[in-house]
């Protein structure tokens, strides 16, 4: 066996593997690029200031003009409420699971979080429909949508926060305990700040996910063409729902508006992701920059 001649077969295998990997990467890129291309080319022409600042009030489906302002406002409010409830709750659950939970309760919570991860959005929406609307007698509203959205966001937020907290080295906790700092103070002043960039990213990913969920809006937002700024009273617009409704029409004006709305939705999600990265970069432990 010679030390100086790499076997030619190994070289061939190496090249073949690299080609396969490059091809796989390109194939994986195809759907992403084609979606972006389609939405941008079809939506850009109808996306303008008017579109973003007007609702569909008094505009019939075959007319051009009008816009998605009511839908944009609706989805932003619905997601904001869902996030405002989910973020503190999921933080507390994740802290419990990582720092305190040892026994059966922790195991049960982890199990249920896993189950909720796989919950289809239509099921979450159906649950809120039967519990909140049919059961408790409330009407379709933005808040009902928020309830379904928070069910969908919660497991993602809990799981990613949990992972980030576990990543904080136990040496840091020990350093804090050794200074005579109590456990809760250690968590709030040492562990959470250290894990913060990762937690923020995780929360933003959760928000980006629920931003585009159509099923809850379909079942729970009601139907309206007008601007409703109150998520607790009356039907409210929703951007993913707007896209869905537009897609069901054969009228060109409506279809154009639908594409513009889809483009808007993608842009909002992208902005959120950028914002999350910005926060993560800003808050990163300084030496890591």
């Amino acid at each position: 066996m010679s030390l100086s001649h790499p076997s030619p077969i190994r070289k061939v295998k190496n090249s073949a593997a690299m080609v396969l990997m490059a091809l796989a990467f390109l194939v994986a890129l195809v759907p992403l690029i084609s979606i972006l291309w389609t939405v941008i080319s079809k939506g850009l022409k109808s996306l303008n200031g008017d579109f973003l600042s007007h609702s569909m009030r008094n505009i019939s489906p075959q007319q051009t003009g009008g816009g998605a302002y009511h839908a944009i406002l609706g989805v932003l409010e619905q997601v904001a409420i869902a996030a405002a409830i989910t973020i503190p709750l999921s933080l507390l659950v994740a802290i419990y699971l990582v720092e305190y939970g040892r026994g059966r309760l922790a195991q049960a919570v982890t199990f249920f979080v896993d189950v909720m991860m796989g919950l289809p959005s239509i099921v979450a929406a159906l649950f809120v429909l039967s519990f909140w609307i049919l059961g408790l007698g409330f009407h379709a509203s933005g808040f009902a949508v928020s309830l379904a959205l928070l069910i969908l966001m919660m497991p993602i937020a809990i799981r990613s926060t949990e992972e980030m907290l576990r990543l904080v080295s136990s040496a840091l906790r020990e350093a804090s305990y050794a200074l005579g700092v109590s456990k809760w103070r250690t968590i709030v002043r040492v562990v959470l700040p250290t894990a913060l960039p990762g937690i923020v990213t995780g929360m933003m990913l959760g928000i980006a996910r629920i931003m585009g969920e159509t099923a809850p809006a379909l079942l729970l937002a009601g139907a309206t063409d007008s601007i409703n700024g109150n998520p607790f009273n009356g039907p409210q617009g929703s951007l993913p729902l707007f896209v869905y409704n537009s897609s069901q029409s054969s009228l060109q004006a409506t279809i154009d508006r639908g594409w513009a709305a889809a483009l808007t939705l993608i842009i909002i999600v992208m902005l959120l992701n950028l914002f999350a990265r910005l926060i993560a970069w800003w808050k990163a432990p300084a030496a890591a920059r």
Binding site: E174, A175, S176, A178, L179, R185, R189, V190, T194, A286
Partner: protein, 258 residues
């Protein structure tokens, strides 16, 4: 400020496994005591029972008495968090808080315990950094992140952080094993200075370091895997290295095992 430690009948468990058995020793104030022994003999475990850090790990327990002057640290009604405020610890790998600057790191023990007052804190931070021989190197960059220092400087930062809360005792768990020889020398010089104010216990696997730095040395050993660690001998450092009274001590010191 420096206090005396009296340990009697100390045993510590990880779950049902007894890690150390029936340890009894005394540490005089303002002295440096070194714990030496082969890997796994329990010397770090003994150290961690002195400031009630052992029980931070779930499922552990401690039996016996640890007296700090005339207070039993494991007595009823004693708050472990308060114990850790009086007995400080420096760890093997330097662990400054990554989200805090140098100033904030040193002040962490004060701030996290709710001590307010910027002017007081400024003074204490400077005093601690001087005490740790780090002031001159960092006085112009107190607001820079603590993680930006070299290994030896980070360890001195951790020492400054530990002494900023004015502990009675300073425990050091192999503080130099992650450092290069120059930084090690700097820390050993520092220990020689610190002992004028604090009682110091240092765990080290480096016998020459124990010989250089300590007044008294305790040798721990373990009979076999799965058996608990025991204190074999404790004596003045020169005597234990020149003329140990136990066979096992002599074997370890001359390098026949370990």
């Amino acid at each position: 400020m420096a206090k005396r430690i009296d340990v009697s009948g100390l045993s510590a468990y990880y779950g049902s496994v007894r890690a150390i058995e029936d340890i009894s020793l005394t540490v005089e104030p303002r002295t440096v005591t070194a714990f030496i022994g082969p890997s796994g003999c329990g010397k770090s475990t003994v150290l961690r029972t002195l400031n009630r850090m052992h029980e931070v790990i779930p499922g552990t327990r401690v039996e016996g008495k640890v007296m700090l002057d005339d207070v039993d640290l494991y007595g009823a009604g004693i708050d472990p968090v308060a114990v850790r405020r009086t007995i400080g610890m420096v760890f093997q790998r330097p662990n400054p808080f990554p989200t805090m600057s140098i100033y904030e790191n040193v002040a962490a023990g004060l701030r996290l315990n709710g001590v307010r007052g910027k002017s007081d804190t400024d003074g204490i931070v400077e005093q601690s950094l001087r005490g740790a021989n780090l002031w001159n190197e960092v006085k112009d960059r107190l607001n820079k992140p603590g993680m930006g220092l070299s290994g030896g400087q980070q360890q001195r930062l951790c020492i400054a952080r530990a002494i900023a809360v004015s502990p009675d005792v300073l425990l050091m768990d192999e503080p130099c094993s992650a450092l290069d020889p120059i930084s090690t020398l700097a820390i050993e010089d520092l220990i020689a200075q610190l002992k004028n104010e604090y009682t110091i216990v240092i765990v080290t696997h480096n016998m020459q370091q124990a010989a250089r730095v300590s007044d008294r040395t305790a040798f721990f050993n373990i009979e076999g895997t799965g058996k608990p660690g025991k204190l074999i001998e404790i004596d003045d450092t020169p005597r234990i290295f020149a003329n140990p009274s136990q066979r096992a001590t002599e074997d370890y010191i001359t390098g026949r095992f370990g």
